[in-house]
Symmetry: C2
Subunit: 356 residues, 2 copies
């Protein structure tokens, strides 16, 4: 058995893979592959409607928000957000908590003025800046809620006097949030929502149509909202598999149930990192992510030895990002506690071998 700790695209539930595999041969008893059906067929329109309904239900999305399934990943949102809500000559405020936050700010700066309200670059993004001021005259405040590379996460939405936009690519649907706290949420699907190739956008309708910019239709949230995410041919299979995964999450009991599991998973692993003298965490304790657990050892030799042991035990995807080194265990929704325990066992085994 393999335990997939990869950072994304990542593990999804086995049941989802099974059904997703079958639909490539015969979708919904149509006698056709999900890959060859028209996106305008009533069967597929039903898939999009159900996916949207599941997002609304699982996240308790207020009715005055649109729920969109787009393409291009979070990286495309780095451009679409300012295109849609940053007026020409206007200013946006960005919090810098890592590579992705930096990229988001850089892309926005091509379309307007960007003010970095705070940054944790001074300590290689191992902590989340607090007590920063956000200019009241900015069009919006942007932050990244979970920083996959550095293993940090922002659990409490900063209180700011302007609309808040959040990149939730790697922690959406992993814990309960109040959507009404935000004005625009976006997330590449390929962590907790589904496979690569689709992007979720949840946006408060009143935010739109005010930038005064001429926006190409394909980048205009209002066009996609009006068309129910079918402005053009959508990424059919990625939406379908996301829908299956959202069904799985609902059947499990929803976001509050998965949040409890995620808390236990994260706690179990962080506890072992703290206990085991061979490992140490890299992120500031109060900012530690529940999705990506980053940790290191004393030297490169030990790390290589542990990675080899991990591989033997079927634990994969554990190598840390080059800018942090060591290990990163991505422990998304679909990763079971069994896999966490397998990792903890390997850490203990390593300790025993070294100590004997």
């Amino acid at each position: 058995m393999k335990h997939n700790f990869g950072a994304g695209p990542c593990i999804l539930p086995k049941e989802v893979f099974q059904e997703a595999s079958e639909a490539v041969i015969d979708f919904d008893n149509t006698g056709l592959s999900i890959l060859e059906i028209s996106h305008r067929s009533k069967e597929f329109e039903q898939v999009v409607l159900e996916a949207e309904a599941l997002v609304r239900e699982l996240m308790n999305v207020p009715t005055d928000y649109s729920v969109l399934f787009l393409q291009g990943g979070a990286s495309q949102q780095f451009a679409m957000v300012p295109m849609n809500i940053l007026p020409e000559g206007g200013k946006a405020a960005y919090l810098d908590t890592g590579v992705w936050a930096t990229k988001a700010a850089k892309e926005a700066s091509k379309l307007g003025n960007v003010e970095i309200v705070a940054s944790s670059a001074d300590k290689n993004y191992t902590y989340i800046p607090k007590n920063f001021a956000v200019p009241a005259d900015a069009a919006y405040f942007h932050y990244t809620s979970n920083n996959t590379i550095y293993g940090t996460e922002i659990f409490e939405k900063p209180i700011v006097p302007i609309p808040t936009v959040v990149d939730m690519s790697s922690d959406i649907l992993s814990r309960v949030i109040d959507v009404a706290d935000f004005d625009l949420i976006y997330a590449g699907a390929q962590k907790n929502m589904g496979p690569a190739g689709v992007t979720l956008v949840i946006v408060k309708n009143e935010l739109l149509g005010k930038s005064g910019r001429v926006i190409p239709s394909i980048f205009d949230y209002q066009q996609h909202a009006k068309a129910g995410s079918m402005y053009n041919t959508p990424p059919v299979y990625s939406i379908y598999v996301s829908m299956l995964n959202l069904r799985w999450l609902k059947a499990k009991g929803g976001v509050d149930v998965i949040e409890q599991e995620n808390l236990i998973k994260a706690r179990t692993l962080y506890d072992e990192i703290e206990r085991n003298p061979f490992f140490k965490g890299t992120a500031n304790e109060m900012d530690r992510s529940r999705m990506n657990v980053t940790f290191v050892m004393d030297n490169a030799e030990q790390e290589a030895a542990f990675l080899a042991l991990a591989k033997e035990r079927g634990l994969i995807g554990l190598k840390g990002h080059r800018s942090v080194g060591g290990f990163r265990a991505s422990i998304y929704n679909a990763l079971s506690i069994t896999s966490i325990n397998a990792l903890v066992d390997a850490m203990k085994e390593f300790e025993e071998k070294q100590s004997s």
Copy 2:
């Protein structure tokens, strides 16, 4: 057995569906689903490299062109083309041969000046305009090579004094073209290349980096070229299935072999439309598409009766687009002559029933 004449997303070869289905459970003997592997894994990097190599080989792409796999469909290219190659204040020339050509021109007009060099709107796009003049001071000339809705196709590239951009979404890989005749080719995958969710762009490198515009990275062809289509997380599964489909096309003998099959398929169906007194084609004979065959009957009652008979015979996706009416048989690469014969048989059966 179902015969899928849908306009797209459309039929792909059964062998491709089979392998695509298996990879959702176990990709390439990794023990992992294709949906959960990292796009940075060597296994998936190999997929992208092979897909690009297959496009280059099958289409004989010159080395000074980039081959890119992007997201957002042809509709996103409607905006990305002018962003990348239309200077601010510059002019582009568009040929208007249908709804998609019109949309392409409309989106470009948001970014610069657009001159429509000719249009067949006067006859509901049933023909391809000829003998039009293209302004030598325009940045590029754009046309749509196959018009799915109206069943027309442009087989000979118009000779123009400026770079040519072509939307080949619905006839790419269906017939031999000389890529060197073009400066930029784009195509949503979901006809002859693969499933929905990925877009092919083939662009002459010297065309790029000259518009003088500040382009968000995600919309900049040069960024994608530099990153080998991995600027950000690509649409993993759509690229994988496209790669399988390109392999299938190569194993069949390549584009010249499929072109001969496509010629026979189209000829067989057009012959029956001409012979059978109950049907008539809608497109100008010399401009008739080999990919989408549009035809009508004398009245709506007959059409409903024929559609019912077709359905009984397992022939699906034949209903014409609302702006043309009647029928549209999309006969893409993966549709076999067996399906064409089944349609012709149904047309003959209808004739006999009506005549008896």
